[in-house]
């Protein structure tokens, strides 16, 4: 029903948004109190959304398997569920819960290591991407050379900032520390602040549209 999908969420959003704005811009205690109540609800809503996310993830994997019943999709569906059951069961059933030796073992010997490996592989692929991105000259199909200014800027800033953090270059490349900090604290700060201001202006626009019920993506999920 459209009223549940659109009007009610919009009314709730607008009411809460306006109260929080009034709490910020006025001195009435009632708005301050309501603001405190609303903000303290957020962790509760977030906690519920974690559970909803789990259900949604399982459902999405199940539908993925239903669409294409092959071994890979079966593994993608079953393996996370097995690990979920092991972790959840240990946390709930073993005395001591997440402080129990069993859960700590699972956590530090499986979860942490798997997570660490994923991030390590990700950083290796990031390094590969950086190598490709920092090609200053490329050949066009006609055989001519093309200089890439954006790659040069990225290489200049990225390499100096990276080398500045490595003791080998701090020792044998005098000035790299100061230069690296200059890159970080001058052009980076200027660009970063400009981006933040632009994002803030955009957020105001989105906020006003949300309060007016014009930002449909905040209330409707297709």
């Amino acid at each position: 029903m459209a009223v549940f999908r659109r009007e009610i969420p919009t009314a709730v959003l607008s009411f809460i948004g306006i109260v929080i704005l009034l709490a910020f811009f006025t001195t009435f205690d009632i708005f301050e109190t309501l603001d405190g109540v609303f903000t303290s609800w957020i962790p509760v809503v977030s906690a519920v959304s974690v559970g909803l996310g789990l259900i949604y993830m399982i459902y999405a994997q199940y539908m993925n398997y239903q669409r294409d019943k092959n071994l890979n999709n079966m593994i993608y569906l079953v393996v996370p569920l097995i690990f979920f059951a092991i972790f959840f069961g240990t946390a709930m059933l073993v005395p001591g819960n997440i402080s129990s030796d069993a859960y700590q073992w699972l956590y530090f010997h499986i979860y942490q290591n798997v997570g660490g490996v994923i991030y390590a592989v990700m950083f290796f692929t990031l390094a590969s991407s950086a190598i490709r991105t920092m090609r200053l000259v490329t050949k066009d199909p006609a055989g001519g050379y093309q200089f890439r200014l954006e790659a040069a800027a990225l290489m200049f800033g990225g390499l100096i900032y990276t080398l500045r953090q490595i003791p080998l270059f701090q020792v044998y490349l005098p000035g790299i520390v100061g230069f690296g900090e200059l890159i970080m604290l001058v052009p980076n700060v200027g660009g970063g602040r400009a981006a933040v201001i632009a994002a803030a202006l955009a957020a105001i626009t989105v906020g006003i549209r949300t309060l007016w019920g014009k930002e449909r993506t905040t209330t409707e999920v297709d």
Partner: protein, 275 residues
């Protein structure tokens, strides 16, 4: 002329070789340490000074959002920070904002034992359990700690904990150490602690997030640590040796194949090698 699949396979082999050389480069200093000196940067010095220059008996809140998967990047920062705090005798409220944080902090405090610095749990430090805070949760915590947490990590009511008797909001906090792993989250601390209450904030994050914290330094945040390199620098400036030295040493040679690959990729078009 090689097919697209052959070119992809060749490129993959190239990167695999680079990765292998990086790994070998990282292992050499672990076996035979180079022990090169580390230069301490300004944001790290200011981070350290923000802690040690606090008046005696100050209360520090640590918003702890650690990720176990990323612990290698931040553990040196954490250990050196806790040691610095405990050596100076400040009161500490750790509050956990990620699922991992409550487990990680317990593990950390098994290593840097507060009691060995004369601390007593409940009187000098307290750990508040995981709550999915987000930005609104940070705002709520700054307004009223009890609106988020009714008990500590052991399930004891906050009102029964001596340290928490007179503390319920930002007014009881002298310094916020804001730890995060998602780069734009630094804005949460700025928006919810610095702007409304002018709370002193320092931050600790991943290496890749440093450039996004820098725009707020030194006006909104007084100092920040980014990555294991900054953790090593904090170990040096605070005189608390830890795992950061080995990590910085490993990076010395691990970076070299990466640099060689960049040079090779830029030389290649000029010597007639296939792209």
């Amino acid at each position: 002329m090689a097919t697209a699949r052959e070119r992809l396979a060749k490129a993959t082999r190239f990167y695999q070789i680079i990765w292998a050389l990086c790994l070998i480069g990282m292992f050499i200093p672990l076996i035979s340490p180079l022990g090169l000196p580390v230069t301490v940067s300004e944001p790290v010095k200011d981070y350290y000074n923000s802690i040690v220059e606090l008046p005696e008996g100050s209360v520090i809140a640590v918003s702890f959002g650690a990720s176990a998967s990323l612990l290698d990047e931040q553990e040196a920062q954490f250990l050196a920070t806790w040691k610095t705090i405990f050596k100076n005798g400040y009161k500490v409220i750790f509050y956990c904002s990620t699922e991992d944080a409550s487990i990680v902090i317990n593990n950390e405090l098994d290593e840097v034992v507060p009691e060995s610095f004369g601390y007593t749990y409940g009187e000098d430090y307290v750990i508040l359990p995981y709550s999915p805070l987000g930005e609104a949760g940070q705002a709520a915590f700054a307004q009223s700690i009890r609106s988020i947490y009714s008990t500590d990590i052991n399930g004891d009511p906050l009102n029964s904990i001596p340290l928490m008797q007179d503390i319920d909001n930002h007014e009881g906090i002298d310094l916020l150490i804001y730890q995060y792993t998602s780069c734009t989250d630094i804005e949460w601390a700025v928006r919810q602690w610095v702007v409304p209450y002018k709370t002193a904030v320092i931050a600790t994050t991943l290496g890749c997030c440093g450039p996004m914290a820098a725009p707020y330094y030194p006006t909104q945040i007084q100092g920040f640590l980014s990555g294991s390199g900054a953790g090593t620098e904090l170990e040096v400036v605070s005189g608390n040796p830890g795992p950061g030295a080995a990590m910085s040493d490993a990076k010395n040679l691990g970076i070299l194949p990466f640099l060689a690959a960049i040079i090779w990729m830029n030389v290649k078009p000029f010597i007639g090698k296939e792209d």
